[in-house]
């Protein structure tokens, strides 16, 4: 059980998001989250949509932009130890298919949430802040940038 025993892919993490079935599972996962939240009796529909949006964006921020390194030891002496998963994707090449997909998903979710919350002011503010928190780290200008040294090591 070693990384890279049978193929020369130094860091398999870079290709996880391109694998077959990941995009579909991702969408199904959001759907499942939404249904679970809808089943809770005392949440109204706008609240459920806002919660879906917030939880989705929070999870995306944690897994793609906070957690650094790889869950296995790679044979490249840890080049990716200080990189988040977003930065590792496709070895840093920007605007690949998976990156576009993961950028568009929160935006689509935002549109749906704005519609179902009937553009209420408080929901709007919360959802927009949440969307910004997940879109800004994806900009290519912020590749490898750590503001105020947060999450540097």
């Amino acid at each position: 059980m070693n990384v890279g025993t049978a193929h020369s892919e130094v860091n398999p993490n870079t290709r996880v998001m391109n694998s077959r079935g990941i995009w579909l599972s991702y969408v199904l996962g959001i759907g499942l989250l939404h249904i679970v939240l809808l089943s809770i009796p005392f949440f109204s529909v706008p609240v459920v949509w806002t919660l879906t949006n917030i939880i989705h964006n929070l999870s995306m921020y944690i897994f793609l932009h906070t957690v650094k390194g790889t869950p296995f030891e790679t044979p490249d002496q840890g080049k990716a130890r200080l990189l988040t998963h977003w930065e590792q994707m496709d070895y840093g090449v920007q605007f690949t298919a998976s990156r576009k997909f993961l950028t568009i998903m929160p935006i689509v979710l935002y549109f749906l949430t704005s519609f179902y919350t009937k553009y209420d002011r408080i929901h709007f503010i919360i959802n927009t802040i949440s969307l910004m928190s997940v879109l800004i780290p994806k900009l290519p200008q912020l590749h490898g940038v750590r503001i105020f040294g947060i999450n540097k090591y």
Partner: protein, 554 residues
């Protein structure tokens, strides 16, 4: 293509449309993940392939991929949960931790790097590193091993599980045997030379056994000269740096073994990777290399070398040697062929992929192989022109620093090779090769009929059976052991995340009964674990189908 389903000699042939590559007239057609290199109407019309080349890489339905991803996601979430519980003392910690006095030091290891090992690998760890206590022949004995704390620690009960059918050892020709008559010469040499050589090749480690072995290897392969080394992995990693250096270009296949990758990286040359067995990708890389030269200076490359393997052990695919040789001749590159799994295992007389495709060994510049797989010994060789081998004798790291092969092992290879070539006066060698071929075809055909997804070429004795979901990896291996069959399973990250597999290595020493036992067990297990994902399984009774077609055509 007159008749798309012509019946020839009582066998049903499906002639697919030949898709002509604009670069090579190889007639490769790819349909639904199944690649075929076909001859038109049974007559070769200038294609480089002299026989059909059928490889399968079927994709499972989408729901399987989704379930696989969900499986890994659930495993990850539970991993985070358990790590949290361990960190906060809600669960006992079995892993090594820093000493109390060193708690404020910068940590030695990043614990996230062991996340996968801790939380996913460890739960099914009992399927790997199983100690065996007999010769790894077609059947072997395992030491019984139990765990009391969910695979954190193991203990041996002292019992042995006897006669487990061995479907994991690289024992392709069955030379891993303890028969006293077969090993007679080996015991004689052991008594004459002892076990150790105690020196490197360049100092005092070149014995007459090595010279004899090298001559034999050169005769076996049909080349001018050969050199043998003590370790197969080290043959690649120590000799590629001697052959290429800075300013050279290495074009290496995507799925090359770690030894080749390590050798390439150690050499300091530029490495470019082409898609697995994909000749268009290789040609594009060759053209770009020659047109644009080295990265910044645009000078010509000193050397361009293509690294490929004969049989890829994780996919079971065979290299497209005829096309690679024509590409290399066209663009004047060198070819390094690593026949670790294919020497002895393919080819009409067991001489590897060069013979399998009917080509001459002069087409390949560097022939490399190992003795660990088909010859039941240890070590590797590099063969080719005399100038090349003489260069390696002086410049190889292995020759200067590593001890040479020990004499009993060399004698084992000599006797195995003589047996293969027929020099011991029997036809046993040829029989073994034929038996391996028969076993391979039978095993693969049956697995296809049962509906499993198998990767690789129809003639390769390495048979990966796709399991896909992480839960099934553990379940499959454990249940096969309960049925007394030992298999090797492998998952992410050694394979792509959605393609975990079990890898079977068919051996000439397997009898039909053993293969039938394994196939029946696989049939049951396939139904129980729902592993039969193939959508293109052939009918189990092709003869009946054929008869009805004959009647209709009348």
């Amino acid at each position: 293509m007159a008749n798309p389903s012509a019946v020839c000699n009582g066998h049903l042939h499906h002639h697919h449309h030949q898709k002509q590559n604009n670069l090579l007239k190889s007639g490769i057609s790819k349909k639904n993940g199944i690649t075929k290199g076909m001859k038109k109407n049974g007559v070769s019309n200038g294609t480089v392939y002299k026989k059909t080349f059928i490889e399968h890489f079927e994709q499972a339905p989408m729901y399987v991929a989704v379930f696989t991803v969900v499986g890994f996601a659930v495993g990850t979430i539970f991993g985070y949960l358990r790590d949290f519980m361990r960190a906060w003392g809600l669960e006992k910690r079995h892993i090594a931790a820093e000493r109390e006095q060193q708690k404020d030091f910068v940590p030695l290891y990043q614990d996230f790097e062991n996340f996968y090992t801790r939380n996913l690998y460890l739960r099914i760890r009992d399927n790997w590193n199983r100690p065996i206590c007999s010769v790894p022949g077609p059947q072997f004995d395992l030491m019984e091993r139990v765990t009391d704390d969910y695979n954190w620690t193991f203990r041996f009960t002292g019992r042995t599980i006897k006669n487990v059918i061995n479907m994991g050892s690289y024992n392709y020709l069955g030379f891993a045997e303890t028969d006293v008559n077969a090993l007679k010469t080996v015991t004689i040499e052991l008594e004459k030379y002892g076990t150790g050589v105690c020196s490197t090749r360049q100092e005092m480690g070149t014995l007459d056994k090595h010279v004899e072995l090298e001559k034999l290897v050169a005769t076996f392969l049909g080349v001018e000269d050969a050199m043998v080394f003590g370790m197969g992995f080290a043959t690649n990693s120590m000799n590629i740096p001697a052959l290429v250096g800075k300013g050279c270009l290495i074009l290496s296949d995507e799925l090359n073994h770690t030894s080749l990758v390590l050798g390439a990286r150690l050499s300091g040359a530029t490495i470019r990777i082409f898609k697995h067995n994909n000749m268009q990708s290789l040609e594009k890389l060759l053209r770009d290399a020659i047109i644009y030269g080295q990265p910044r200076t645009h000078r010509a490359w000193r050397k361009i070398i293509i690294l490929v393997e004969g049989i890829y052990s994780m996919e079971g695919s065979i290299v497209r040697l005829p096309e690679i040789v024509s590409l290399k001749n066209k663009y004047k590159a060198y070819l390094y062929l690593d026949e670790a799994h294919s020497i002895g295992a393919v080819g009409a007389t067991g001489r590897g992929v060069v013979e399998y495709f009917g080509m001459s060994p002069d087409d390949v510049d560097v022939l490399m192989g190992t003795f660990t797989k088909s010859f039941g010994a240890a070590g590797g060789y590099i063969a080719g022109k005399k100038g090349l081998v003489d260069f390696l004798r002086t410049h190889s790291h292995s020759a200067v620093y590593a001890t040479s092969m020990c004499p009993p092992v060399a004698e084992q290879i000599i006797r195995a090779m003589k047996c293969l070539m027929g020099l011991d006066g029997t036809t046993q060698g040829l029989q073994r090769v034929r038996q391996l071929e028969k076993n391979t075809r039978y095993f693969r055909r049956k697995l296809h009929e049962m509906g499993f997804i198998i990767y690789g070429n129809d003639d390769s004795p390495v048979v990966p059976l796709l399991l896909y979901m992480p839960g099934k990896i553990g379940a499959f291996a454990r249940r096969m052991l309960e049925k007394n069959i030992g298999v090797v399973v492998v998952g992410f990250p050694a394979t792509p995340i959605t393609e975990s597999r079990a890898r079977f290595c068919v051996s000439a020493a397997h009898t039909r009964e053993m293969l039938d036992t394994v196939l029946n067990a696989l049939d049951e297990l396939g139904d129980f674990l729902h592993l039969k994902y193939s959508r293109y399984s052939k009918s189990a009774h092709p003869e009946l189908y054929e008869e009805s077609r004959l009647e209709l055509e009348d």
